[in-house]
Symmetry: C2
Subunit: 335 residues, 2 copies
Amino acid sequence: MSGRLLCVVGLGLIGGSLLRAAERAGWKAQGAATSSADVGAARAAGFDVTSSVDEALRAAADCDGLVALAVPLPAVADVLPVVARWAPRCLLTDVVSVKQPVATAVAHHAPAARYVGGHPMAGTSRSGWTAGSADLFAGAPWVVSTDEGVDPDGWAQVARLALDCGAQVVPATAADHDAAVARISHLPHVLAAVLAAVGADGGPLAMALAAGSFTDGTRVAGTAPELVRAMCEGNHDALLTAVDDALGRLGAARGALASTGSLAATIRTGHLARRALDAARSSDRESLGQVDLSNAGALERLREIGRAGGRVVALHGTRCQIRRCNRLRNTTAPG
Amino acid sequence: MSGRLLCVVGLGLIGGSLLRAAERAGWKAQGAATSSADVGAARAAGFDVTSSVDEALRAAADCDGLVALAVPLPAVADVLPVVARWAPRCLLTDVVSVKQPVATAVAHHAPAARYVGGHPMAGTSRSGWTAGSADLFAGAPWVVSTDEGVDPDGWAQVARLALDCGAQVVPATAADHDAAVARISHLPHVLAAVLAAVGADGGPLAMALAAGSFTDGTRVAGTAPELVRAMCEGNHDALLTAVDDALGRLGAARGALASTGSLAATIRTGHLARRALDAARSSDRESLGQVDLSNAGALERLREIGRAGGRVVALHGTRCQIRRCNRLRNTTAPG
């Protein structure tokens, strides 16, 4: 736990879970939201919650608290000027699913804030305070940004919050994060939508014959379209790169099939990639040693560790304990 | 059951299951295979099995039996001349996963055979006689070809075999079958391979963040590459069309994202398609009446019923009982 006050702005699924998990871990935490339903439900559950975001931010500024923005991406640009007004120099993090657009908005609207971006990769298909749980982050990866200019002490505070909530910290730059999630979360949603549509174009006969491969490949097309759009469109630039890579590989498969009749390269490459993922997930956690945040270049070192698949699993003072860990937790929908 | 002798050529997973299921349903059945392991195991289990395909085909010809080819697609062109030699006018079916290439090979190698193509859409990830089961086809769709020139009496015999094995008969032309499975079975394997490769290109960070959408979307990339290639490359022409449709839709998504920043059309279309599939699967079976095979135009009528998502669930004399039924059975790997 930290002696610092945590101020959670937004009390939906993620913000509400964060307030619960942090308080359970011993943080002094206050929530604020404009949704009267979320505020009412959180108050009824006994949490310190206000419907005045201004007031909560003033209180955080008075005691140098940690402010966590837990609002949807489209609302970030509306909330940041309020942060700049009432808590301009606060230690600031967020839980939004893309990182570069938030960092850009912070630089524009709240340039004096000490910003350390975050993204807990956990969720459910439901939303709002009532869908939340103090256990939501248990075992989940929680990306904490290691961009140029991040203060190691601020980074440690945000990493401490993530670890106290039961998550494991994946250190990554905003750009690396956005590029990775475009490939493993946003592209899968686009391909599922494309596959569902191409299958449906085959008519009732095709649907009557559809079996496991089609069912699995289209599962996430069942997710609410507004959630998928917000996630994918918010990561516009990185997703374009991932879609282009997919178009290139699919075009190459098409060319090989048309010219030689063979899909050998496509199928073999995909098979090896999937087997490598399975192997990594079934392997034991491997210790990768420690990184001391008080040393020069610590964040650069953490960034490299994140790129190599490592996670911070504990923080003792300024010493980060690192492990390689690709094992999945069970619930990460709608990821 | 039928009074006709069934001659199953090939005793791997599908052929071995067919022999077991048909005999259990009361058919007089003989198996033949060149694999001494499969022949030995089938004999040890008490089945009438020979290692001489010639002899089995001669016996079938002597009593106007039904010959079922249960060999892999690449072996079809080798077996058909043997059929033409020993049982040139036999009633002939097959269980191969593509239908047009088999029909073309039959027309070339065994033109006098009374051919009615078949495809039971069931399987497991294992192979060989020992992997088979009399229950393999229970509840599965079994496509029986309704192409021009098919004899309604021969069609009824093959449909009877499928129904006796516990399957439901989906009437379809070879071309309609191949186009449908390209969309709902072969394209999903190609897209899974592409997604797995694009994800792996994101390196260990991307793999460490991969969650449910990536895991589901790449599952079938774990299938043995030689099985996937045989299935996809054997349906070369229809798969090209499906891949082109996917390229077109993915390219359109790319264009919309780059120009307007919106994926609205892609995500909405995919979502509606997936919801329609879920709705069809959860709906009750709807009776679509009967078709009498002794009436003129019966096969054309069945073909239209198959296109509309109907299945033959029972055969009383020449009367086919039809239902709409999209409910999935549990096991259809590696489909």
